[in-house]
Amino acid sequence: MTGLLAACVGSVIEAWTELRVHRTRVLLSLIGVAVAVCSLTSVVALGDIAQQATIESSERSNGRPAALSLSLQSQDDQPTDDALVQTAWTEALTRYDVTFASRIIPRQVDVQFVDGVAAVTSTMVDPAYGAMHRVSPEHGRWFTATDINRLAPAVIIDERLWARLGSPDLALNPTISLFGVNPVTAVVVGIVKSPPYNLEPTMFMLNAAYSRIESTLQAATVQPAHPAYELWVPPENAADLMTHLQSDFTATLGEGTIVSVNRQDYAAYGQDPNLSLKLLVSGVSVLLLLLGALGLLNISLVTIRQRIQEIGIRRSFGATAARVFFAVMMESVVATVAAGIVGVMLSMLLVKSPWATDLVSQGATDLPPFPLEAAVLGLGIATLVGALAGLLPALVAVRVKVIDAIRY
């Protein structure tokens, strides 16, 4: 046992001394390996982070898996019977025991600002929407069930709207004035990040709250509402539920209404949108790695000729063939692992740089840390490349005939 430890430590020491003596040639070929490991690790890490960010942003806009969306369209352009739809919706939620569901109704709501009235793009939702779309308010909170019965409706506004109001402190219960025949004062309970695709201020309000104030406001511009109905269900039940919802709603609303139920979360699409880019960069990195390894191999093969004498000398004082094989192999491995460590560290700096973070974050709030798998992968590949590049020189080294090596 102690002999094995001594042999291992001894081989690494031999390899290290060898590398130190030939540092210039080794350094040159290792730059390639370090760069390759760095780019491979970065691709994996960035890909990982980007995927995380994509999932996050996709869950924000489309909901978490499995997110079902139900939409209704009447064939004869007659407005659908809202009361009938509402009954069908409530019944369906009870029948299939769906806890997370929300009606989503986009509306323009007039808001009184100091400099006049402006329409604000608003989304009327149910409390479950927050959990379904991973809404995490920057300040304040998301709606709760108690908000449904508030006298002054609660609103959750985005950062743009908040800025427009002069960024008031939420602790002071700031209000906004909703403009109409009889203006209504709403209380701001939370601030969310502005959606990246919308440059105008936006806000959320509860469906229940809006239906109560709609008649009070008697807003000048009454737009037809196109509600969307969303459900968050276990992915394994999604397909079944889709068929059931389809037939239930069709039965209730009659043939005149086209009912379509879709699954809209990212998991339904399957493919990673960055896949081709990832494959391209990985391909280039692998090529770089091969070039680096080839350089290392080439240099070791060329110099092994000069080292035949040295290997002969080592054999003359007791180095076994296995030992020589291992030591030459270790030279390569120690070198590439060192290059790999440098590459992984470079990659960490790169991936965590603001530039890269901007590139992949896609507005995601909390980016995951540098993925451990990427670092492990980088080091693993470096070791493998070292072992492969060391194999051939090691085979040459053990075939050195000692007597030929020490005669001149």
Partner: protein
């Protein structure tokens, strides 16, 4: 029991044109602990070939070599390597130090193949050995920074650091001036005596050869004890030499 015995050992090479070349034949030799043996011979007479056989670096094509009574041809390659490392030390004419490595690293390299305490304390052991050859103040010098005599002393320290039982020196003074050569030989002698090791020296130099207790000449592939070489013998020609070399041990 002798440490190493050669019985009718011969070495024949196959040349590139497929004709065999016999370098050595019918060699009998017995080496005991503490022996001092010298071998002289013209260049190309097979001295180095003989030394490679003694050092288990090469295998005879005829006859057998016994190490402590065991037939070496039965050893696995690994066992030969390990035995060589543990029991045999080499000193070469061209020193054969490892380039770019300090005296201390050169001397501690054989200890990398040790195990246990000797392995872990190799630097201290190597430093002590260099001290003994008078280079205690040159531990971190690389070969290019050392004179020929100093390099050969490093080589001597390296050959002896594992306390071998047999030291094989192939023209150890060949690249040194006479005076330095004498110093190196005295050193080899002294350290070999201290550990009761056998020393086989190959040399061109009669005065170096004369230091040995048993002196041989290598000629026409045969090993002849010096005290047996008489004008009478020479007149009888090479036929009987193999036999004669056999009777001396």
């Amino acid at each position: 029991m002798p440490f190493l015995e050669l019985h009718g050992v011969g070495r024949t090479l196959t040349r590139l044109d497929d004709r065999p070349l016999t370098i050595l034949s019918g060699i009998d030799l017995s080496i005991e602990q503490g022996d001092r043996i010298s071998v002289v011979g013209r260049s190309g007479s097979g001295k180095s070939t003989l030394l490679n056989l003694l050092g288990l670096l090469d295998s005879p094509t005829e006859g057998e070599i016994r190490l402590e009574g065991l037939d070496v041809s039965q050893f696995s390659n690994r066992r030969r390597d390990l035995t060589r490392g543990r029991d045999i030390g080499f000193v070469f004419q061209q020193f054969n130090l490892l380039h770019g490595r300090t005296a201390l690293e050169n001397v501690s390299t054989p200890l990398l193949y040790e195990r246990g305490a000797t392995f872990w304390k190799r630097t201290a052991i190597a430093a002590e050995m260099l001290e003994r050859v008078g280079l205690g103040n040159r531990l971190s010098s690389t070969p290019v920074q050392l004179s020929g005599g100093e390099q050969q002393r490093v080589a001597v320290a390296r050959a002896l650091v594992r306390r071998p039982r047999l030291i094989l020196a192939d023209e150890p003074t060949g690249a040194l001036d006479i005076e330095t050569g004498e110093t190196v030989m005295a050193l080899l002698d002294e350290i070999a005596t201290a550990s009761n090791a056998a020393l086989v020296t190959i040399t061109h130099d009669p005065s170096i050869a004369a230091r040995a207790h048993r002196q041989y000449t290598l000629e026409d592939g045969g090993l002849i004890a010096r005290d047996l070489i008489t004008p009478d013998l020479i007149s009888r020609g090479p036929v009987t030499r193999a036999k004669l070399s056999g009777c001396n041990s």
